[in-house]
Every structure is written in C-alpha cells, then in structure tokens.
C-alpha cells in the first residue's frame, strides 16, 4: 500500500484582542482559507484545494490551527495564507492573520512541536504576570507540562490549554 502523503501546517491565528478567538470555528477557517486560495490562484487553486485539504484541529482558546494539505502542492496553497486578513465567523468579522509556526509530515510531529511551543509561551508569559497568584499559576503550568514530558517521555499529552489562564 502506498499512503497518500500530506503536509500539516501548524498555524497560530493572531488577533489583537484575544477574546475574539472564541468566535472561531473550523468551518469558518476552512471557508476563509478556501476563499483566499481561490483569490490567489483562481480555479486551479480551487481544484487543488478541493482534494484532501481539511482543518484538522482548532483550539479556540489559544488560536492554534492545524491545516492539512496534500504534499504535492502544499506550497502553492500555503502561499495564499498570508493574504488572509479577516475571518467571518458566527456573523462577525474577526480581523486576524495566520502565522505558520511548523510544517510537519504527520499530526504527531505537529503535536510534539505544539507541546514544546506551548511551554515556551508559558515561559514568555511569566515576566508579564502582575500578581503573585498569577505567577504561581503559570509556574505550576510550566512544571506540570515539563514533568509530564519527563515522565512519559513521548506519550500523547496535549496540555497547552493552561495558557489561557492569564
């Protein structure tokens, strides 16, 4: 058997106001990417997009999205992503942009990267904490994800949800 190879783009949706991230839906992101591809590459792009492109994962708290494209032409489809400047979701326009942070061959590598990236975000968050309670909370989160990583080494654990605490 030959498997169909795909590329997974781990993207971060950056918005100016983090509360608007909650509005995001998989369907809305799919539509936005599709529209951008059609605008950038026309019918050819639409045809390529229609085969094997999905939104695999969406975390509406941290704004992390995994997009799946076919390996053969993911660069063409990726080149449309910078031209997205807003997403229509739940009847509201969310002004945002996509920032690709990792390109992986499997979801698993993306997940591993995401855990590492999430921990890095927590460390970046620490100096911005105002109160001692917040600091403790972030420290606890950092410790929890690093210890878990240490214990089970490469087992599935996806605990970057704590990021939304502060």
């Amino acid at each position: 058997m030959v498997r169909l190879k795909a590329r997974y783009l781990l993207c971060e949706v950056c918005v100016s106001d983090s509360s608007s991230l909650r509005l995001l839906e998989e369907k809305a992101i799919y539509q936005a990417v599709k529209a951008a591809v059609i605008k950038a590459h026309g019918e050819y792009g639409a045809a390529l997009f229609s085969i094997g492109s999905t939104v695999t994962y969406l975390n509406a708290y941290t704004g992390v999205v995994i997009l799946r494209f076919r390996k053969a032409h993911f660069q063409l489809l990726w080149s449309a992503l910078p031209f997205i400047s807003s997403i229509w979701s739940q009847g509201q326009k969310v002004r945002c942009f996509f920032n690709c942070i990792h390109v992986g061959g499997t979801i698993r590598t993306c997940q591993k990267f995401l855990v590492r990236y999430g921990r890095q975000q927590l460390c970046r968050m620490l100096p911005h904490c105002k109160t001692e309670a917040e600091k403790q909370e972030v420290r606890r989160a950092v410790m929890s994800c690093s210890l878990k990583k240490f214990r089970v080494d490469d087992d599935d654990d996806d605990d970057d949800e704590e990021k939304e605490e502060t």
Partner: protein, 266 residues
C-alpha cells in the same frame, strides 16, 4: 535556526501603536526590526525627520520568540527621489542605521545602483514600475553590496496592489536572479505583519528559489545592516570616535583620539 529581520516598519507618530507592532514582531520571531522614516523632498519644506531613540520608544524591549535576547530596534531613512537633487548626502543621514532610496525614474535608479551611498533600494509596490530594470545597473548594485527591497503589506491590503507587487517583484528577480533581494513588511498596524516562514513561502510566488527566499528574510537583511554600519566607518576597517577630554588638556591634532579596528567584512 537563523535570525529573522524585518527592515521596514513605518514610523507612525502614535508611540503606543509602534510599541504594539514591535511586540507583535517579537512574538513572530523577528530578532531585529527597523523603523522606517520616509522623507519625500518633493513636498516643500520637509525636514529630515529626527529618529526616536530606542530607549525613548519603549523602556523595556520585548523578548524575541524562541530566544533569550530582547528585540533589536534600528532606525532607517527612506528618501523618495523623483529628481536628482533630492538625494544629497548630509550629516543628518548619519543619525540613521540604515539608509534607503526609492528612485522613481530610470535615471535615478541607475544612479542609485551605481553611485549613491545607500544600503537599500526600494522597489515600487503600489504602482507599476515606470521603467524596466536593466541588467547593468543591477549587476553594479550587487557588486557594491546594495540590496533591493520588496515590501508585501501593499499586496495584503489590496488586490490591485498585489498585481503590481508581484509583477514588479518578478521583473526584478528575473534580472538579478534572486541575489541581493530582501523582503520586508512596511506594516503600519500589527495585523499587517506576517510570520517569517510565511514570507519565505511567499517568496516562491515572487519567483525566488527556496534558498534565496530564506536568505531574503535572514542573511541578506543582516548583510544590509552591516553595510549600514560600514557607511559610518572608513570602508568598515577604521572607526573613529571622539574621546571626551578633560578641558584642561590641550587637544592633540596629530594622533586621533581613538582608533578602533573593526574586523567586519564588507
């Protein structure tokens, strides 16, 4: 992992917004940004703007994503030249780390490539370039270590601009074969910035190869910054600094106060 730079962030008077942009750039992983002051001499009585010092801008610079160092902020001046008289080297240019020129006519483009003491030549993004890029001036510019800048914000804002940007970019890249090209944002709001990997991929649309596209956001930018540094020194070899002397002592004319050899290559 290479160091990414964004050498074009438009200077806006609102300090809060500028800080916001710098913060976003740090979050995206850019370790150096340059704040761009645009000088348009055809508008009468326009003074050369005074660059804000970095400490004045924000007291605590944000930490770059994935690194331990804070972001580095430079100042850049872009002279929009429609006439030969517009670009005249003066002492005020020396306040800026990087000097760029935006030639509007073919003659000025030729002069900018061959003779002007600049680091960056901007390529039009909002209109069709009124002249054709010839091989000889561009080769001259590459030999002198001057870089060509493509900015992508106009392409994001508007679809007509996108056509012009892509057309001009491909026009340039065809002639210079992907060498000495840098890509910068030209952003005025935080939401107009894009991540470095996205820009690398966008380079493929502009006709750059993968390696050239990556160099366009990293190594070429570094070379441009170093080129800017050498402009202040004598060919990057000797750097002279005035030593603050106590007033009682007689200043000695024969020996310079302080000679410092710099080992950077051009």
């Amino acid at each position: 992992m290479s160091v990414f730079m964004d050498l074009n962030i438009i200077a806006i008077s609102d300090k809060k917004k500028l800080q916001n942009i710098i913060e976003t750039a740090a979050h995206l992983g850019y370790s150096t940004v340059a704040i761009n002051y645009v000088l348009e001499p055809q508008q009468k009585k326009q003074q050369i703007p005074k660059p804000l010092s970095v400490s004045e801008l924000c007291e605590k610079l944000p930490i770059v994503q994935g690194k331990a160092r804070p972001i580095k902020v430079l100042n850049r001046l872009t002279v929009v030249a429609t006439d030969a008289s517009h670009f005249r080297p003066s002492n005020e240019y020396k306040n800026f780390d990087i000097l760029a020129v935006f030639p509007k006519t073919e003659k000025l483009f030729h002069a900018a490539c061959m003779t002007y003491d600049v680091d960056i030549i901007s390529i039009a993004a909002t209109e069709k370039q009124p002249f054709h890029c010839k091989r000889s001036p561009i080769n001259g510019a590459i030999e002198r270590g001057v870089f060509f800048e493509l900015s992508y914000t106009a392409a994001i804002r508007d679809s007509t601009m996108k056509k012009y940007t892509i057309a001009n970019a491909i026009n340039l890249v065809d002639v210079c074969k992907g060498k000495n090209v840098i890509m910068a944002s030209g952003a005025e709001t935080p939401l107009e910035l894009r991540g470095p990997y996205d820009i690398t991929n966008l380079g493929l649309v502009f006709g750059l190869s993968e390696g050239d596209a990556k160099a366009a956001v990293s190594t070429n930018c570094r070379s441009a910054v170093l080129h800017g540094e050498t402009r202040m020194t004598a060919l990057g070899i000797i750097h002279m600094k005035k030593k603050s002397q106590p007033p009682s002592e007689q200043p000695e004319e024969e020996t310079p106060a302080l000679k410092k050899a710099k080992t950077e290559s051009l």
